[in-house]
């Protein structure tokens, strides 16, 4: 026993020092990247897009990468966030920050609704149920023309200045707009990092790794899944709300099934189950879209080819593969 207690007090095996450092400070490092990012981008509007879709993909990845559930209906959460934020501003004249809170809550409540129905199914059934439900959400917003503008989209979300503690920021200026949105994204990244490092974060991974074992260990798998779905919805709702502010309209396409497919592609491209991978995926996807569409209208062909190559040869995704190489 003496021998045992002696060995127990020894420090655990030293692993790659700075890799561990990077892992521990992932939110800070990601934030630094977000802050520098627009300076290396050809134009700022694209950087804003990447930022918002990056957050959307990060929120999606909480469910897909960390919990292991593939949803094909995340457009519903993103879109609900965007529409509720927009409706709060256009129809109720709410201030921008209250509208953002509305968007977050909208995403979370929609996730609770969809989740309550879908969460007991697995694998392909879960993907199909979430897809079908997101189609229902699409028609709901599509039909509510008085509130949403139907197929014309919700127009008139004009936020020109952002007041923070008496400071008036010009939201029309692209770089200012970027950094206002970046502030929310960075906050979200810190919250997410904290969730992943929490006791609940460990439960999420345990459920992904082995549902039956998690249940036998005393965890309520269904409840864990639902909570994670709702958290994912809150992040996606925030991304949607920021999108509404950024575009100053909410196009009905935001609820299309294509949006759901796109976020799956972004996550896979960047690396599911990694903290920063979905962000990288969103950046690569949107950069490709922009660069290739200068050259040809058939940009989807090229993006599709890149996607297939990635999935075939780098199943861990771009960021996931980089992390693996570094860690070896």
């Amino acid at each position: 026993m003496n021998e045992l207690s002696q060995t127990l007090t020894q420090p655990s095996v030293a692993s790659a020092g700075w890799f561990d450092f990077a892992k521990r400070h992932r939110a800070i490092l990601a934030s630094i990247f977000v802050l520098v990012f627009p300076l290396v981008m050809p134009f700022t509007a694209l950087a804003v897009n990447i930022l918002i879709y990056g957050l959307f993909a990060v929120g999606f990845n909480l469910l897909f990468g960390y919990l292991g559930l593939l949803s094909f209906g995340h457009a519903a959460l993103f879109g609900t966030g965007a529409y509720l934020c927009g409706i709060a501003i256009v129809h109720f004249g709410w201030s921008w920050y209250a509208a953002i809170v509305m968007g977050i809550l909208g995403g979370a409540v929609m996730a609770a609704g969809i989740g309550a129905l879908a969460i007991r199914t697995r694998g392909i059934y879960f993907a199909m149920v979430t897809m079908a439900l997101s189609q229902c959400v699409f028609y709901l917003f599509y039909q509510a023309v008085d509130w949403t503008g139907g197929e014309n989209g919700l127009r008139g979300i004009n936020v020109r200045t952002i007041d923070i503690l008496g400071l008036k920021l010009d939201f029309i200026n692209p770089l200012t707009r970027y950094y206002v949105i970046a502030a929310f994204v960075i906050l979200a990244l810190f919250v997410l990092s904290r969730i992943l490092a929490s006791p609940f974060g460990a439960v999420i991974e345990a459920v992904r790794e082995n549902e039956a074992r998690a249940r036998a260990s005393g965890y309520d798998v269904t409840r864990t899944r639902l909570i994670t779905f709702i958290l994912s919805g809150a992040f996606c709702g925030l991304a949607g709300a920021l999108m509404a502010l950024h575009l100053s309209i909410v196009p009905i396409e935001i609820l299309h099934i294509e949006t759901s497919g796109m976020v799956v592609m972004m996550s896979l491209l960047g690396g599911m189950g990694t903290f920063f991978g979905p962000f990288v995926g969103a950046a690569v996807f949107l950069l490709l879209e922009n660069l290739v569409s200068i050259w040809t209208v058939h940009w989807q062909l090229i993006v599709g080819a890149v996607f297939v190559v990635c999935v075939l040869f780098f199943p861990a995704g771009i960021w996931g593969t980089i992390l693996k190489r570094i860690n070896k």
């Binding site: 609940f200 345990a206 036998a216």
Partner: protein, 256 residues
């Protein structure tokens, strides 16, 4: 614990007339049995006897079609599986069942965490006191301490089974249910596992499902024999060995 449970009675687990049907197939027919506290009870029987079905009823994986399961005097027939760990019942699976991409230590730590924190999304889990130390102590008990930083999937088969025992013990259970704990093990691994089971049984009740009869006769206080979904015999190993019916259906065959 609630007041209705009785943690001192001699009988820890009781099934009254439990049956299980899958469609028209009767996997288990009207089994009534009592399991004594602080003993090793083995459930044996040839392939298809209903051992695993019975095990799953005892461990709450699914409810019986009819009949009642009581743990320490409390009716647990329809209690959700994840509640079992919190009542003091832990189980290991017939097929190796660990969290493959988590480290060996994290496998046990997450098992311990279930009794401290399940839904806290905010505090850092590194700040939950004592879990890593307890996990390391359990790993030392099951002989995996030097493997603690390895991913569970990198462990040898026998080590993964030992890890499962460690995870079951994380619940600090009064009753441990083991489903063929030596399945697929080498003779050496089997011997280590048997020693471990005897060690566990000093502090808690163990119920064991085993296909290899010879293996459990030496360590069991009591043996239940199932055959075609019926309870064929029960008693001490000696009594069971001398039972004519058992001899016919089980021992008459080449002994496993």
């Amino acid at each position: 614990m609630t007041t209705s449970t009785d943690t001192s009675s001699k009988v820890i687990l009781r099934t009254t007339g439990v049956s299980k049907k899958f469609g028209k197939f009767v996997a288990l027919n009207n089994i009534s049995a009592e399991f004594s506290r602080d003993a090793i009870t083995s459930i044996i029987g040839p392939n298809g006897a209903g051992k695993s079905t019975y095990f799953n009823l005892l461990s709450g994986a699914f409810p019986p079609s009819s009949g009642k399961v009581e743990f320490e005097g409390r009716d647990v027939t329809n209690v959700a599986q994840h509640e079992f760990a919190h009542m003091g019942i832990a189980k290991s699976f017939q097929i190796t069942n660990v969290f493959p991409l988590l480290t060996t230590r994290e496998n046990v730590r997450v098992g311990l965490q279930a009794f401290v924190s399940r839904y806290d999304i905010w505090r850092p889990r590194a700040k939950l006191p004592g879990l890593v130390e307890k996990a390391d102590a359990l790993l030392a008990l099951v002989g995996l301490w030097d493997r603690r930083e390895r991913l569970a999937k990198e462990l040898a088969h026998g080590e993964q089974r030992a890890l499962e025992i460690g995870m079951a013990l994380a619940a600090n259970p009064r009753l441990v249910l083991l489903d063929e704990p030596t399945a697929g093990m080498s003779p050496e691994e089997t011997r280590v596992m048997m020693d471990l089971i005897v060690k566990l049984s000093k502090e808690r009740t163990v119920i064991l499902v085993e296909h290899k009869m010879k293996l459990v006769m030496g360590i069991s206080d009591r043996v239940l024999v199932l055959h075609h979904g019926e309870l064929l015999a029960q008693g001490t190993p000696t009594e069971v060995r001398q039972n004519e019916q058992v001899k016919r259906v089980y021992l008459g065959q080449r002994e496993h």
